[in-house]
Amino acid sequence: MESINNKIIPKPIKNLILAFSGLPGIGPKTAQRLTYFVTQKSSEEIETLSQALVSVKDHIVLCEMCFYIMEINPDKDSRICLICEGNRNKNQICIVESPLDVIVIENSGIYDGLYHILHGAISPMNGLGPNNLKIDALIKRIDNNIEEIIFATNPTLEGEATAMYIQELISELNVNPTITMLARGLPTGADLEYSDFSTLSNAFENRSSFNYSE
């Protein structure tokens, strides 16, 4: 930050460095590098970049049902995303932490149910509690038509705590869906030699029957 207060740096540059520093994973040095990169680009390129940034804020909203990111359709009043509207299995809800998780699962093509995006996970030490997430809306969505709820939160303390908290809330409802969680264990291509205790014990606990037939 010392360099940003330096008098020889023009104010617009300082402002842009500060703006970049606010992005996740960008430190002061990277912010300075990005700013320098911007100064080297032509006006047209910067115009395209700035328009793309403004357009994201103006044309992108969250789906009212699952909270996935979607483009505003001026012909429609309701804000329901393509996934919620589409011809999918509406008896399954897969709970994920971020919209990026939806993109990964959709790219794999292995799931055809609905989603619910929490936009984070309970992280007590970072000040993220249940009220900061889209949990209330999820509980309102769950009725007798829902047959399965799949927890696809990250296999971290925060992800597991979020799943436990939601499960407790669901158990208080007058519904009885099957509640499942993505399997925890060894990733494909991993070395058993380098596995830690948690991963290995999860892999043993969640081991499945193996039947090879030609």
Partner: protein
């Protein structure tokens, strides 16, 4: 010149950094609070990832950096699996860990604070009765931070406390006698005799006895108020995990 070192610690916090790196906060025995980055730890094949989970007790091999240290190797000693399977225990463990992080200094050896945290987490994992664990932990942590609460005599005049007058001053950090109570202008908390008996046992360090009893809810509420106010006044901090802990307790 690079400087590599070993440290044993509890992972208290993590945040994403860059494309696939994460920054971890470690409450270590040898160097107090250490902030270190682990490279590519968010990728599925990372060998460090499984060990670097919040609340894990780890042995780490680190390299000193300009701003952040670098985690080169890590091995978990204890993962506190039973704690991580129960939301109530997670809330308590997060609260104790965040409280320790808020008082521990960077680059300063704090074996007493580290041992207090590890032994409390082990107790939380193994013991059947954990009701007073948090308050015993808070009492000892305040004492190690230089704010030992006084329950055996008046915190102001050091006279013995009479049985009829029980008030606690969070600002002074102890119980006040009737005379000193009159001249005290700060917030005071009335104590029941049972609460005072529990607090006196804390002062005498009878923790094994305290961890076996199950006091009624009104006594628990009194104890919670005493420690919440004391931490606020004496340490001047508001913990992020406290709200979550209270939400889970009410739930």
């Amino acid at each position: 010149m690079t400087k590599n070192y070993f440290a044993t610690g509890i992972i208290s916090k993590s945040s994403n950094f860059g494309e696939a790196d994460s920054i971890f906060h470690l409450i270590t025995k040898e160097y107090g609070l250490v902030k270190a980055v682990a490279k590519s730890v968010r990728k599925p094949k990372s060998k460090l990832k499984g060990h670097l989970q919040t609340l894990n007790h780890v042995n780490a091999y680190l390299r000193k950096g300009k701003n952040l240290d670098l985690i080169i190797q890590v091995e978990s000693v204890t993962t506190f699996k039973s704690i991580k399977k129960n939301l109530n225990f997670i809330a308590q463990a997060c609260y104790m860990t965040e409280l320790t992080e808020s008082v521990i200094s960077e680059d300063q050896s704090s074996p007493e604070l580290f041992n207090l945290l590890v032994s409390s987490l082990k107790f939380l994992e193994t013991s059947k009765n954990r009701i007073l664990l948090i308050h015993c932990f808070e009492f000892q942590l305040l004492a190690l931070s230089g704010f030992k609460l006084m329950f055996l005599e008046c915190v102001n005049c050091q006279k013995e406390i009479s049985k009829n007058s029980h008030v606690f001053s969070p600002v002074q950090g102890g119980v006040l006698c009737p005379n000193c109570k009159k001249s005290e202008n700060t917030k005071l908390i009335n104590l029941s005799f049972t609460t005072l008996k529990i607090l006196r046992n804390m002062s005498r360090e009878n923790f094994s006895l305290l961890l076996e009893i199950s006091p009624p809810k009104n006594i628990i509420n009194e104890l919670s108020r005493i420690f919440n106010e004391s931490i606020k006044e004496l340490l001047g901090i508001k913990l992020n995990s406290q709200n979550f802990y209270q939400t889970i307790m009410k739930h």
